[in-house]
Subunit: 237 residues, 2 copies
DNA sequence: CGCCAGGTTGATTTCGCTCAAGCAATGTGG
DNA sequence: CCACATTGCTTGAGCGAAATCAACCTGGCG
């Protein structure tokens, strides 16, 4: 295992080769990336990049969990996204030619690899398959972002919370056959609130409601849902 | 002038050649697009495509104005975007490999040209410059979408309305030197509300406030703002 | 003329926020 | 080992912004 906070090289491995976007890389390019990648272990709370920082390249999440946040005027921040292992971070500002418009903060310790733009950009420019992979990624995220806006202004907090649980289920849960599922929340209550754009207290109250109605069973970050349909009904009915 | 509702060909002209994304096309490809483009005049209220329709290609807005909407459960719809002349519509679902996730409806009559995916997709796949143009477009829109979500949950309606006016100013306004600007709203009050994710009545009340304070002067869709800074202060202070 | 779409205004309600207190788990220093 | 912050979460009381419900106004149009 590598030491904390020490740069490490040669960590771009088969994980990277199998990553959604980078699978289009040739062996030569893979080696080139490997040569320049700068990898580091991060601790909870560490910041990878800040809002308004110039974008100097992309970050590949080898392990751990990263939260993408935007800060508001009075300490109220939103959590735009959770980045899981095998995801590439910071490609958006790089390709848009903009500064970072959000902050990336470690939610769960892990190894993150930096690849500078001087290496990445030419590859995307000359490898259409790689470009298309990012194009698909960007357009899907755009669709999701528009959907989130729509749901935010259209649905009640309760419905959005139910929806969020279903989204998290796909990532962090495992479901039984009969509609039941179990979920390990990747984030705190406060961050659940930040994902929904509401206050911690409001999330507490919604959870309290769902508990009382027997729809969910929360124990710290462990959640059991007897029947997923009860949650789905909240936002599709 | 072409007849209403009649397909027209050969309308892909210098406008298309100069469009943000398509300027990367070779003369050969331009001719190919010209050959297959199906152009049509649309009237206000006409629908170009519907939510959940399969995506069969892209639409180029030659003239007029198009609103991109998402419908809610009980008739409450949001207006995600206004497409102006020279913009390409429907590229998102095409490149994401998804169905349309919103409805495109004509806000101002104009000529819209359809280009099927069988023509467009190979061009994007084989012309890296074209792909990069769409990549830049998608990533910028993604940044904007995330910003909108953040502003929606962070700012008051009043602040968001001020922000919206500033955005519309860039598109539909012309400003004098001393901070004053004049703006012709491209949409109804109801659609302003749909852009902000609130009810018509709430927009009415905000306008009433701003009028009384002398910040703005609304006459139907004509807006005069004596000092843009007063609006900017609403969301940056 | 009646009708309707788009907009404004008023009265009331409601959902989520604010402020505040309290609690359990964890950590820290004397 | 205990006193005491600190952090994350819950709960309660009251408030406020926007929704809802409803009336009414205006201009356009068959």
């Amino acid at each position: 295992m590598v030491n904390r906070r020490q740069p490490v090289s040669n960590c771009i491995n088969s994980q990277f080769r199998n990553a959604a976007e980078w699978c289009a890389l040739s062996d030569v390019d893979l080696k080139a990336v490997e040569a320049v990648a700068i990898c580091r272990e991060y601790d909870v709370g560490d910041v990878i990049f800040n809002e308004n920082d110039p974008c100097r390249g992309v970050y590949f999440v080898t392990s751990g969990l990263v939260g993408i946040r935007k800060a508001g005027l009075e300490g109220d921040s939103t959590l735009l996204k959770i980045a899981y292992p095998n995801e590439t971070l910071g490609y958006r500002p790089l390709l848009a030619g903009q500064c970072h418009r959000a902050t990336a903060e470690i939610l769960k310790p892990g190894l993150i690899c930096f690849i500078n733009s001087a290496t990445v950009l030419p590859m995307i420019e000359h490898n259409p398959a790689l470009g298309l992979n990012f194009l698909q990624r960007a357009t899907r995220e755009l669709g999701d972002a528009e959907e989130r806006f729509h749901k935010t202004v259209t649905l009640t907090l309760r419905a959005r919370f139910a929806h969020l649980l279903m989204l998290l289920k796909d990532r962090c849960g495992h479901s039984s056959d009969n509609g039941k599922f179990i979920l390990e929340l990747p984030v705190s209550r406060g961050d659940l609130a930040a994902m929904l754009g509401v206050r911690r207290e409001s999330v507490s109250r919604v959870i309290h409601e769902l508990e009382q109605e027997g729809v969910t069973h929360f124990t710290d970050r462990h959640v059991e849902v007897a029947n997923a349909d009860h949650l789905i009904d909240e936002f599709r009915a």
